[in-house]
Subunit: 345 residues, 3 copies
């Protein structure tokens, strides 16, 4: 694939400072880029690298002083770069097509136009799969599962019975949706299984990471609303509801019956205790453990999580605790001396 | 499926306060329930909802004052509800049956009566699978694996060679049992692999979550005793032994050679350091990191984990650390002033 | 299999104290060992067990006083034991061989001599697989994947397109390599996907645990250098580079663009924030959260991670915080009394 610097400027709505006719044959990070590559600078931290990069052209918000490669000036260089990446990735992505002869398809399955079912896919019965949806090898699809259009399901994903997936979703390899929630009642020193007869609903434009697990509801629905992105090795318990356009980083764990509002962001490794609410647009710092509800718009951190600004102050003091104990001991000696002195006077 | 309120009262050994003849066609949470549904109230927190629920009947321990739907009074409403759920779930669960033609079965495999092997299942050689055990698509079963009766193994589970699974177990999708333990010895700046020639034994009535991993022992056995329930994305290291009727919530990690007694409960995200003992009936709070042995019956929390009551006090103080440092600084000023005053007198 | 004590001493370069002709038929831990077994003692902690073990022979560095089983004296008993384990494990490991008729192989795939492809393996097109590499059932191998010689890939592993795996690697069941990195740019309240067009490269002699996930780079390469060992349920983000001969314990999470030097050790459950460097030979304590770069050779712990020695002191004080607040309150009372006294004088 080849575009010129001018082609790219036009694509992203930017203006060229340099040679518009230069051919661009690849995209790369500013350190790794070679001649022919396009790169980008988003933050001041990487700005100095613009003078040494081997890239042929750089997407950037403002023209710096000094000798640089050809520049494409645009207001949001990272977004512009994502757009260019999409052009270049279309060349690379070659999803399977057609129905592989080793795919097993049960009764009363409705397949939309141009659905791809690759080798060793297993579709149970009474399923519906929308047009142009691509299902990679080894995927298991249980009874009565419904999948929208233009969704991609990577190898070895498991969708248990009654799960519903929207359109334009991406399910990465090894994800498991619709397993039984972890529900047991204690009975005479043993655990009695509480049947999990609900299901999982994933709305449109959701992406779910590799080996992530989302449990079906005890009854009712575990729901991931449209536009939400979930990273790898995340665990979502039964009866959880996650709002629209949220982002859950890797290894997040959300316990049962948690309600998460729209536009919430959970950092890597965050854990949310059961039966609490995380308000709209709230953000939780990486590795925090949240055990009570978080107000809309709040930013919390730590374990147990508290207001982020306060967390930073607490951490700062915590690190100096040995120094503080020294000061308290010193005070005790001084006060003791003062008390003796006053007693003797 | 349809039962009357009276049928259900009889099933759970409760008494009806209201209309025994009312038909019940479903079960649901108290907020989600509609006409025809049965729901339950376990704690005072949800009690007010009984006056507004649309459910036709409610399982509850004591009759509240005020106008409610029909009630079924019973001592443990959650257990009773689980019993009713089991009735309703029997309708839904339709496990595969028979031997699918794409299943691959090696030599000297002994299959009990009515074993189900679904599509693309792979059974190596010298395995034994007990009566009525159900194996979903894509499951891999290594050499010399033994599985008891009435066990259910969901799609894409991997059981490496010599693993042993009891009767009435449930293994959720993507779980991996019997992989090599993580054992290496340092040798001239490199890692020399210590062969892992032990195995995994899972006793009767154990449930194991999706994408959970349980490693084979270096030698001897990694053992999960009967009745224990393990959630999703849990990691159990080599040579671990977990007692009877334990509960391990999601994302727990248990390092090698840990011994866990009977009836232990580990909260979500707990980590246990290697070579320690967790005594019978001990409980570990969510996200705690345990680095030394825990006495039977103890309740511990935090990282590193300490006695739970103490943990709560430490957390309470921790949050006010900036305030305490302010008070220490104030004391220093006061003491300095006192010292000056005494000096000048 | 049977060796004599003398055979084993010769194998490990040790000397016998006891009966060289004794037959050894198995290996086991010092507690579990029975007659005919070899065991080992590495640390003083287990030394007392040497007088009660049922093992026929013990690998040990120095001969203790008292009556023991036959001893094989050698400088590094654990390494020697690993060597013996390797002998005994060769008997047990029986990898599949040949090309199973249900394996699906795409166009332009180059298979080295004696490659084993077991049932339901799927190899897309333009792949190269080196001599004697073994691929277990249910593995998916995307386009243009290259795998070296003598590598073992356990069931249901997924290698997405363009992934490269070295020689003598071991990939445990359910691992997913080459999924899209978690990259999104905010755009008008939604998440715009940043295409991930890079790839994953795993060098020689690397071992990767069950259900571990390693994401492809946004562009360029996510790289695991030779000799590194990674445990189960580990998450490696896009554009990460991990050095040679590192060890990453279970449930470690490494965020995007982290650079890890050679010989680094990360304890179980450690999280590393994005875009930082972990210097050569650094070590991070279990469950720590590292949010800024770590110097070569440093040992850090805690959340946020600090120098390990300091962490231990901080933890020691933290546990006594309620006591320290009591002492501060006491000081306040004393100082107040002193101030009153001086005022009245």
């Amino acid at each position: 694939m080849c575009m010129t610097v001018g082609d790219i400027a036009q694509l992203v709505g930017g203006t060229v400072a340099g040679d518009s006719s230069l051919p661009i044959t690849g995209v790369n990070g500013i350190k790794e880029a070679q001649a022919g590559d396009l790169t980008f600078v988003r933050s001041a931290r990487y700005l100095p690298l613009i003078f040494s990069t081997k890239a042929s052209a750089v997407l950037i918000a403002e023209q710096p002083e000094g000798k640089t490669p050809s520049l494409i000036l645009c207001s949001q260089p990272d977004l512009a770069f994502a757009q260019v990446l999409q052009c270049f990735s279309q060349r690379q992505t070659q999803h399977p097509s057609g129905i592989h002869p080793t795919a097993v398809i049960g009764e009363n399955v409705i397949l939309g136009q141009d659905v791809a079912l690759d080798a060793h896919v297993y579709i149970t019965s009474e399923c519906e799969i929308g047009a142009r949806t691509v299902i990679y090898p080894g995927v298991y699809i249980g009874r009565r599962v419904k999948i929208g259009e233009d969704t991609v399901i990577y190898p070895n994903v498991v969708l248990r019975e009654d799960t519903e997936i929207g359109s334009r979703c991406i399910l990465h390899a090894g994800a498991v949706l619709g397993s039984d929630g972890f529900g047991f009642a204690p009975l005479a020193g043993q655990w009695m299984k509480i049947p999990q007869i609900g299901r999982v609903v994933v709305e449109d434009d959701v992406e779910i990471g590799s080996n992530t697990t989302i449990d079906r509801a005890t009854f009712g629905v575990t729901r991931i609303r449209r536009g939400t992105k979930i990273d790898n090795l995340v665990q979502i318990g039964h009866n959880v509801e996650i709002g629209e356009h949220c982002a859950l980083a890797g290894m997040v764990g959300v316990s049962g019956s948690v309600m998460i509002g729209n536009h919430v962001q959970l950092g890597a490794g965050v854990g949310i205790a059961g039966h609490i609410d995380i308000g709209e647009k709230a953000r939780v710092g990486a590795r925090s453990g949240v055990h009570k509800s978080v107000a809309p718009g709040a930013i919390v951190s730590g374990y147990p999580a508290i207001e982020h600004e306060k967390f930073l102050r607490v951490v700062a003091v915590s690190r100096n605790l040995p120094e503080w104990t020294r000061r308290v001991r010193q005070l005790e000696r001084q006060v003791e001396a003062l008390e003796k002195q006053l007693l003797h006077e």
